[in-house]
């Protein structure tokens, strides 16, 4: 069994230092393995540390605790048998397609003639024959990612790591490329023994993987594992695939068990990572949900299709709706609360009032800011104390982001205002004495 494993992680943990020097846990006690002949997908919301996990396996960053092994040996740096495909393609813009593909071979010191031969063969395989002399900037996104994949595969890697490899592409292009890779894999045209995909696209994961691992966020832990035994090629519209997608949606949106168990709505902590979504998207989804064809309740994949937005863009919005008590998310379905329905039908000013009221009740950070401002005789306060408060729990940039979200929501709900130039928070004008 052991020799069948390509990658093995035992109790891996990783933390980054936040601004004040306090470590913040990104990954905690992750046990994971990638066996020969399997494709595994890592799913998780943003901030779940899935990219960090991938980079640990690539040897780009070292884990703080636990063991990370490739073929039974500790990973201390990038290994020759592990190649990676990047979200932004990471092609060297000043090198031609051919030179980009030869990059890994050149680093290994392979003589030019052999390099050229192997690169040519790989370009042919990826449908890039004739593009060898092109510069990456001349190519479309789909073609660029083909180059990125060719560059990874030409080194004959054991393990192929794909970091959101299709998310920068449009849906159709992503699908085609995905199918091309699966075809190469299933027909054994490439020597790669294992593929690990990091993704936030549930459909993509279900279509490709033999196993899906779902990471929870803050800190990232493995929450669920879903085995998929369907043969490839799979069709998106088949009932098995549909129900699998629904299941995974359900698992993704489920609150961690310890929160659900307590019965009552769990209290949100001050340092809750407010989801990165803007007010207009929250309202847009709310309205979409309120009227036909959904009439207040929707299946998440369908809603995503109707809204023409990706899951990664939508999950934060769902979270925000749930947080503000405007909707319930449960097992791949979302339904509006009575308040949510009232909200959708309300006038602009009433909406803002409702928003502010919900914000104060359900988001402790907003309540804390408001309270603080009311105590100040001037009704204003610097932003730094709040950033410092958040930095006790969050990374510096994350703390800043969370405060930015809180500011935007607060502005909309007319709970408090923020002056960019002075960097001060203040009570809305009409209430200033």
């Amino acid at each position: 069994m052991r020799e069948n494993l390509l990658m093995e992680l035992n109790g891996v943990a990783k933390s980054f230092r936040s601004a004040d020097g306090a470590p913040r846990l990104i990954l905690d006690n992750v046990n994971f393995s990638l066996a020969k002949g399997e494709i595994v997908a890592l799913l998780g919301k943003s901030g779940s540390g899935k990219s960090t996990l991938l980079r640990i396996m690539a040897g780009l960053i070292a884990s703080d605790a636990g063991k990370a092994m490739y073929r039974g040996k500790d990973i201390c740096g990038p290994a020759l048998g592990v190649a990676m495909v990047f979200q932004s393609f990471a092609l060297f813009p000043w090198l031609t397609v051919q030179q980009n593909v030869e990059l890994g071979l050149e680093a290994q010191g392979i003589p030019p003639a052999e390099r050229e031969m192997r690169a040519d063969a790989m370009l042919e395989l990826m449908g890039l024959a004739g593009f060898g002399g092109a510069l990456p900037r001349e190519l479309s996104g789909g073609m660029r990612q083909r180059v990125g994949i060719a560059r990874a595969l030409v080194t004959n890697p054991d393990v192929l790591l794909m970091d959101e490899a299709f998310s920068a592409l449009d849906v159709l292009t992503g699908e085609t490329l995905r199918n091309d890779i699966l075809e190469l894999w299933d027909s054994n045209k490439i020597p790669t023994r294992g593929i690990l995909i990091v993704s936030h696209n549930i459909e993509e994961a279900v279509m490709m993987a033999d196993r899906i691992i779902i990471l929870s966020s803050g800190p990232g832990r493995i929450r669920n594992e879903v085995k998929i035994e369907l043969p490839r090629p799979r069709t998106v519209d088949s009932t098995e695939v549909r129900s699998l997608i629904d299941d995974v949606y359900g698992l993704m949106t489920m609150r961690p068990i310890h929160e659900v168990r307590s019965g009552a709505v769990p209290a949100t902590p001050v340092d809750y990572r407010l989801p990165e979504t803007d007010v207009s998207r929250i309202e847009g989804i709310l309205e979409l949900l309120a009227y036909a064809p959904f009439n207040g309740k929707a299946d998440l994949p369908q809603l995503s299709e109707e809204a023409e937005l990706s899951d990664e863009e939508l999950f934060p919005t769902y979270e925000a709706l749930g947080l503000l008590g405007l909707a319930h998310v449960d097992k791949g379905d979302i339904s509006l609360t009575p308040l949510g329905l009232r909200y959708a039908e309300a006038e602009k000013t009433v909406r803002q009032e409702l928003f502010g009221q919900q914000l104060l009740t359900h988001v402790p950070l907003a309540a804390r800011i408001r309270q603080q401002l009311e105590q100040e005789p001037t009704g204003t306060s610097r932003e730094e104390p709040f950033i410092e408060l958040l930095e006790e729990f969050l990374k510096a940039d994350e703390a800043k982001r969370v405060l930015e979200v809180a500011v935007e929501w607060g502005r909309y709900g007319e709970v408090y205002e923020y002056d960019f130039h002075t960097g001060r928070l203040k009570l809305p004008d009409q209430q200033e004495k």
């Binding site: 060297f92 813009p93 990059l103 890994g104």
Partner: protein, 577 residues
């Protein structure tokens, strides 16, 4: 390295094909450049004894030869600067411990005026090649080098630090060695910025050319054949016609190296632009086009790149790093802490030595006097940057909004920035003497004479990138006159303006040495200030006071940068579009 053309052509035997007509056109050009360079280089190593006077003739017939010598010096200095930048940036970006010392050091070096370097370097260089002109030649090259190298090194370092994270990761995943990464990733990424800085450096080199070639440090009076020395002799002889000839020669030189060197390089470097913006129109170069069409040149360059890419194999990683057990050693952390203690300790020691030096060697009264002079120069710099801004910002915005002019103005501004201020001496002296004006006031404009153009061309560049929609929106809302300037144009060009003003301010401090002490034949006009103090002390060869003056100038420049320009820069960065 970066293959200029499709590398596969390189396998063709050299000179296999018959020459085409582009070969015949380029051949004389290439031969002429090679022959001129060889001839100039031979002239550099003539016997020379200290005290010997090298005759400089004001006959314009000699100008092409002087121009050749000057060019050779400038390009040698540029090559040295480039090499220095490579080494500096590679070390500073690789080792954090080195960075902590090297970057502040660069800041200091940048604010040391050229005379300071010359005063220190001239004697050792002459001693290095006894009885040969090469020593003096090296000193001159070194002086030019000091006016070119710092901004290039800083630009390269900055670029290497901002290489996109994913490209860095790709390079590491594919197991590139540090050597390969430098040539394949870091340097190509840095090239556009580096090239721009090389052009600025060439302008900077011209600006101080007179000081570099007509060495008058510590009683020495050596003049090397070159345009700078020619200008110096013309000033001594009060020969206005020769000054005019020198301006022509300089113009010719700038056009030559622009067309034969920078233009082709810019056109070639177009592929290193990282952003995928199509907005920037690619630079064209006739020389590069000819070279690409010429069969011989192509065969030669193919060979050249092929040989170079062979060098990529040097220092490659011999072992698979995945199993390499030498990870960050605990000792490394310990060493870093020791370093962190050592550096402040060393600088404390330096401060102590400085205090002791002032106390025992020059006296506190002198130091206070020099600080007052520094304040006067500071006032001048700030006032004139302000005045130049009031004049140039509106003009630059006006030009920047009209793309048909902006490209041409940029070229002219670059030439003007290279214009040595010494060339203005006859006009200035004539005016001040005949009109009996106060040199303390009327010499000041000379300080920004060469540096105001940085404001001009940065703001032009900034204004030309104002999004068209923003302007349309302003028109649509009926913004007019002052309101339009206040709300649209000025905020939009603010970041570009700050960048330009920082460069202009730094340059003006350096220029104060030339601008506060003006001579024309036997007439000498002096404005009180730090610049004239340093100049006078250099002429007198009083090393203690030179050191004091330069040290105080460094302190002034660094304080100004830290507490004024940096603040402004951060403000601008925060509000950029």
């Amino acid at each position: 390295m970066f293959e200029l053309f499709n590398p596969r052509r390189g396998e063709r035997a050299l000179l296999a094909g018959a020459p085409n007509r582009w070969d015949w056109i380029l051949l004389p050009l290439v031969l002429a450049v090679l022959a001129a360079a060889a001839f100039g280089a031979m002239q550099m190593t003539r016997p020379f004894t200290v005290g010997q006077v090298t005759p400089i003739s004001l006959d314009p017939v000699n100008l092409p030869y002087y121009l050749l010598r000057t060019m050779l010096r400038m390009f040698t200095a540029l090559a040295c600067s480039l090499l220095f930048s490579f080494v500096f940036a590679a070390i500073a970006s690789k080792y954090r411990a080195a960075e902590k010392v090297m970057i502040p050091l660069l800041d200091i070096l940048q604010s040391v005026p050229i005379l300071g370097f010359q005063a220190i370097a001239i004697a050792p260089f002459i001693a290095l090649f006894p009885g040969n002109l090469l020593g003096v030649e090296c000193a001159a090259i070194f002086a030019i080098f000091t006016s070119q190298a710092w901004n290039m090194a800083f630009s390269l370092f900055q670029s290497m630090r901002t290489v996109p994270a994913e490209l860095n990761e790709a390079s590491r995943v594919f197991c590139q060695s540090g050597w390969q990464r430098f040539w394949r990733l870091e340097l190509p990424f840095a090239i556009p910025g580096l090239l721009w800085n090389m052009m600025m450096s060439m302008s900077g080199g011209w600006f101080f050319l007179v000081a570099a070639e007509a060495i008058s440090v510590a009683g020495q009076d050596i003049k090397l054949p070159g345009i700078g020395a020619y200008i110096a002799v013309a000033i001594e002889a009060e020969n206005g016609r020769a000054i005019a000839w020198a301006i022509c020669a300089m113009l010719a030189g700038i056009v030559l190296y622009d067309q034969l060197f920078f233009r082709p390089l810019l056109a070639w470097a177009d592929k290193f632009r990282f952003e995928e913006s199509q907005g920037d129109t690619a630079q064209g170069s006739w020389l590069l086009d000819w070279g690409r069409r010429s069969r011989w040149i192509r065969a030669l360059t193919d060979r050249f790149w092929l040989k170079l890419s062979g060098a990529l194999g040097w220092f490659s990683l011999r072992h698979d790093r995945a199993t390499d057990e030498t990870r960050s050693h605990p000792l490394g952390k310990y060493a870093a802490r020791v370093w962190d203690v050592l550096v402040p300790a060393a600088s404390l020691l330096a401060v102590y030595r400085l205090v002791m030096f002032v106390h025992s060697d020059v006296g506190w009264a002198e130091a206070a006097h020099v600080v007052v002079l520094g304040l006067i120069t500071l006032g001048r710099v700030m006032l004139l940057i302000g005045l130049a801004s009031i004049v140039w910002v509106p003009i630059a915005v006006w030009i920047g909004l009209r793309p048909q002019y902006s490209q041409r103005v940029q070229a002219v501004a670059q030439f003007l920035a290279a214009f040595p201020v010494n060339l203005m001496f006859p006009v200035v002296v004539y005016m001040l003497v005949t009109l009996k004006l106060n040199p303390n006031i009327w010499l000041s404009p000379l300080m920004v004479f060469g540096t105001q153009w940085y404001i001009l061309f940065n703001v032009v560049a900034g204004a030309s990138t104002i999004p068209n929609e923003l302007r349309l929106a302003a028109d649509n809302l009926g913004l007019k006159g002052w309101l339009k300037w206040k709300r649209v144009y000025l905020p939009a060009v603010f970041p570009a303006y700050v960048t330009g003003a920082i460069t202009a301010s730094g340059g003006s401090w350096n220029a104060s040495i030339v601008a506060e002490y003006v001579t024309w034949g036997k007439t000498t006009l002096v404005a009180d200030g730090l610049g004239s103090y340093i100049k006078q002390m250099t002429d007198a060869g009083d090393f203690h006071r030179i050191a004091l003056g330069i040290g105080i100038m460094c302190v002034f420049v660094m304080l100004l940068n830290r507490f004024f320009w940096r603040k402004l820069y951060l403000l601008a960065e925060d509000r950029s579009l």
